[in-house]
């Protein structure tokens, strides 16, 4: 397997010693793995320019043990670096993967969702829906799949006219009309169907996913959230 080219993305890389790079990659075939790139950090390296986050790659590696060596890297398609805020969203995806996905565990569905999201970030189209899709897929992969159409405890179908909260481990719960809530039923149903959301629904969906992911991220906040510059800071 490692000797064949497999689709991959670099999630993060750092220098290892003076000359080498240690890269964290997400691959289609074996999930997240660390790879050593010998000579990858030298000024002359042509690989370094390729081994940038969000660049669709084909890679092969060799060697056994905890950290294999990158053997071959090729571009898979045109590199469209996300611009502006989309770039920060890209870092957010990578941080989620590194924080929540174990190494050496194949996650092919999540890889495809990641790819779709990165493509839409790079293409400048509205990234909200792909981002939500990725977050839902990530939770599914972790074994915490979110049922957006039913209440967790009662199993009652979610109804467009009602408001809902989300309880850890339990799921959605209907709340009284005047109480605080995370999302309205129509938002949940549209999100479950991956339909276009209006700005208000988008905000609700984003907050809902942030709330749910928060259970699994624990006390340490995501660093990439600091990237979204708010004027007047």
């Amino acid at each position: 397997m490692p000797n064949e080219l497999t689709p991959a993305y670099v999630l993060h890389s750092r220098k290892f010693g003076e000359q080498h790079l240690l890269v964290d990659v997400l691959t289609l075939s074996v999930g997240r793995i660390p790879l050593m790139v010998r000579g990858g950090a030298s000024a002359k390296s042509t690989r370094r320019a390729m081994l940038q986050p969000f660049n669709p790659l084909l890679i092969a590696w060799s060697g056994r043990g905890r950290i294999a060596n990158l053997k071959q890297v090729e571009s898979r398609s045109c590199y469209m670096l996300p611009r502006g805020k989309a770039l920060f969203s890209g870092f957010y995806l990578n941080e989620l993967l590194i924080r929540l996905i174990d190494q050496n565990e194949p996650v092919p569905e999540l890889f495809l969702s990641y790819e779709k999201t990165v493509e839409s970030l790079g293409g400048g189209s509205d990234p909200d829906l792909p981002l939500r899709d990725f977050e839902l897929e990530l939770l599914q992969t972790l074994g915490y799949g979110v049922d957006l159409l039913h209440e967790g405890r009662s199993g009652a179908a979610v109804s467009a006219g009602f408001c809902y909260n989300y309880e850890a481990e339990a799921g959605l719960k209907r709340v009284q009309a005047d109480a605080e809530f995370l999302a309205k039923g129509d938002t949940l149903i549209a999100l479950a169907r991956r339909q276009m959301l209006d700005p208000c629904q988008n905000r609700e969906a984003r907050e809902l996913m942030r709330h749910i992911l928060g259970f699994y991220l624990g006390d340490k906040p995501l660093k990439s959230r600091e990237f979204f510059y708010t004027p007047g800071q």
Partner: protein, 200 residues
């Protein structure tokens, strides 16, 4: 020559320098001891002084032995242009390759959430203070053409837009994944002249 002799320790210490392997370290040690003991004494004296006395400029954060560096105190430099770079080495590269005569701000890194480096860690609150003084009219973003460098430039251009300051980004010829320090002078000069506005 036992493993812990002074000579061995000296050679090991040279090895901590970038680009110096055991062979080179050995040549350096022998050169000092056999041919240039005076030079060696001067080097050791200067090393101690440099390490003890060189800190960072309080305004632009480049290396400086005074509170304010030579570039910040130089009255011939203009205050309307501010060039943001990642490292003090980048300041030197730009000074040598271009005719830029504005001021600098040295981040000492780049935004990289996966390394735990956010806006505060690279002094962006301090940069915001300089922008708030109102003298800067053009902010030149000369961060490295890596993905993290791009993200850093984007974040800072948002800060600039917030203060109605024009931000430009150096562009031509610096390949993605390259670092300014290693780019040849001609390419860097061209990149500087060819900087473009950063759209918001």
């Amino acid at each position: 020559m036992t493993g812990n002799s002074l000579l061995q320790q000296l050679m090991d210490s040279f090895c901590c320098l970038p680009g110096v392997g055991p062979k080179t370290a050995q040549r350096m040690a022998f050169h000092i001891l056999e041919r240039d003991r005076d030079g060696g004494r001067r080097l050791s004296r200067l090393l101690v002084q440099a390490v003890d006395n060189i800190g960072h400029c309080q305004r632009c954060r480049t290396l400086s032995e005074n509170d304010l560096c030579g570039l910040c105190t130089n009255e011939q430099r203009n205050d309307v242009q501010l060039c943001v770079v990642e490292t003090p080495a980048d300041v030197l590269a730009i000074e040598q390759a271009t005719d830029y005569r504005g001021r600098y701000f040295v981040l000492g890194g780049r935004l990289s959430p996966l390394d735990g480096i956010g806006p505060r860690e690279i002094g962006l609150d301090q940069l915001a203070g300089i922008l708030a003084e109102g003298r800067v009219e053009e902010l030149i973003l000369a961060t490295n053409p890596t993905v993290e460098g791009e993200a850093t430039a984007q974040y800072i251009s948002d800060m600039a837009a917030d203060k109605d300051i024009q931000a430009t980004r150096i562009a031509h010829g610096v390949p993605l994944g390259g670092e300014l320090e290693y780019v040849d002078g001609g390419t860097l000069a061209h990149a500087f002249v060819g900087r473009r506005k950063v759209g918001i």
